[in-house]
Symmetry: C2
Subunit: 362 residues, 2 copies
């Protein structure tokens, strides 16, 4: 099922995983270059969301990512200010998932040719996102690549990626990595209103087929176009996660829900201890995502792997800590709920809430 | 003169600088987010090659860059193994120019679609470069962006960028930044055999005009094609620079010669103290670069700004340290020479050695 979804979205997930594994194997060979020295990567972190580097006993997190084809929605709508939120969210929330406090983001903007006003809007949005995340934009690069970068329409085209670094808060001795998770632990979920930066290839394909080449201009409702809905900026959660840790609330594991959805991203932190999970109280997906799913006839099991379906971030904690964690998030006006619990099955079971609700097993 | 060169290469350098300044102004506003905290960017480093972050008194360098349109030469020739050297060189040697020991590199590969064998060659080359640089490839990301990435021919197209981090060697209390440079200081040069990762847009334009659309297949000499000449991998100098510093040889300033050539990159470390420089003993540019310049009729003054013209890296040191520094590099089989000296004029004067030798003043 996943494979056909993968093909529908124009991606071959198997080949993608094979290439990522290849890159990781080559990278791992290079770890020896820093053995016993500053910057030695911590081994055995398969499944982590960030890479961990040791600098004389102090552990740093580093994470690189881009915002993929969400950029096309900005090119279609002419709205550039919100992409910075997506870019910052992608990298800082991967750090947050391992407990790191994100400190700095360095970004690389590849363009075909330069448009000063668009660059200004992108960088202004990036600054705004940095405010939200509490990080410094410590530097970056703008590269003019001519026809190597293409996109929609006639304005400047671009691709945008970043690398974030961060450190462990003082009351964490090591990254949060899910190793201590045991059956009976509770799964908390943070809500997401939009698509974050994943699943856009499939979304664009469905909308073009259904609404034509200028789908982004079509009304989603009386206030918003489809373009505006898809562009909803990613929530940035790193600051509240660091706040939680600084308040002495230490989860056992966390997962940032990006490509691969809940199954792959929760799976990353469960596979090392063989646990499974039952999530029978997921957030409702945003209406526009449900409509997308219906239009495309995307089976529930695929939808939950390609899109976040309203779920931004998972926190797994001991039952005894749940009340205090819930209170912390509610106090900070953050939508959180108990979504399920850890079990010993090795499977992830979702009571799904998409267009075709079902009991899904991954 | 620079502007016409800029136009010939298909770039508007003024607009590029304007956009970079805009990005830097927005970024600078975000520095406050880390004031007094981990990851606070050091202010007042205009002209530095890397950004400097303070983590509880320990200073880290961070540098982001890509290899621009040199990628097209790999697509044309089908030779992918050497690009990793260019990518690593671009980021680690910017750190080296401020005295940082590069420790880790995180890379982002944007592709249109995936080709496993090409990814394998790129990542194998990246590993090899990491060995040379003494860094770990601590992580990365491969993003499939479909038609947003384009290039030459039918194989996988890609753009490739990276971020490196590093720390100060123990006997450096602060980054090397050129502040102590005074008239009379000596300028040392390290030699470069190829174009590193700069000036490819102009080179490609000249070659296509002169040799046709398949210029890369045309023989440069009996052994090598023009494609192979342009693909000569960048020398990676960070390790020998760190070795020099660890040997107690501390220069006053260093410059990594990339886009902007000697004038802009040496200019970066001289402008803060108003000094100038006379360089009357530059390396000879590689023959193929001189031929390129002749074919394109590129005026000497532009050639020295767009290409490195055989000069990879500048070290400015006190006259008393020169003998020991020279010996260190010669002992390590590294081509070094005394190229000139610092003067109080505020101008950079080159006795150029390109196709149209001249006395140039920038």
């Amino acid at each position: 099922m996943e494979k056909s979804g993968a093909k529908q979205s124009g991606r071959d997930i198997d080949l993608g995983n094979k290439c990522s594994s290849n890159a990781f194997r080559w990278a791992q060979k290079s770890f020896l270059n820093r053995k016993g020295k500053d910057g030695e990567p911590l081994a055995g972190l398969e499944g982590a969301f960030s890479n961990v580097l040791n600098f004389r006993g102090r552990q740093f997190g580093i994470s690189s990512d881009g915002i993929g084809t969400k950029v096309e929605i900005a090119e279609r709508t002419g709205i550039y200010e919100s992409l910075g939120h997506d870019l910052v969210a992608m990298v800082v929330d991967d750090l947050a998932a391992n407990g790191f406090e994100a400190t700095d983001v360095s970004n690389i903007l590849d363009v075909d040719y330069l448009d000063y006003d668009i660059v200004d809007k992108l960088m202004g949005g990036l600054w705004e996102a940095a405010e939200t995340a509490g990080v410094a934009i410590s530097g970056g690069e703008i590269a003019e690549l001519g026809s190597r970068v293409r996109g929609y329409g006639d304005a400047m085209h671009f691709n945008w990626c970043a690398t974030a670094i961060g450190v462990l808060p003082d009351n964490l001795k090591k990254p949060v990595n899910g190793r201590g998770i045991t059956p009976g632990d509770i799964i908390l979920l943070l809500k997401e209103k939009g698509m974050r930066s994943n699943g856009f290839s499939l979304a664009r394909k469905i909308l073009e087929k259904e609404l034509g080449k200028t789908w982004h201009q079509q009304g989603y409702n009386s206030q918003k176009t489809w373009g505006q809905m898809l562009l909803i900026p990613s929530q940035i959660m790193c600051r509240i996660i660091t706040g939680m840790i600084n308040a002495g609330l230490i989860p056992k594991g966390m997962a940032h829900i990006t490509g691969g959805g809940i199954p792959d991203n929760l799976g990353r932190i469960l596979k090392m201890n063989g646990c499974g999970a039952i999530l029978d109280h997921l957030f409702e997906p945003p209406d526009f995502v449900v409509q997308l799913q219906q239009m495309g006839g995307i089976p529930e099991k695929e939808a939950y792997r390609i899109w976040n379906m309203g779920n931004a971030f998972i926190i797994v904690a001991d039952n005894d800590d749940i009340d205090r964690i819930m209170k912390y998030f509610i106090l900070h006006n953050c939508m959180i709920r108990i979504a399920g619990k850890i079990d010993p099955t090795g499977k992830i079971k979702l009571s799904s809430r998409g267009a075709f609700p079902d009991e899904l097993v991954y």
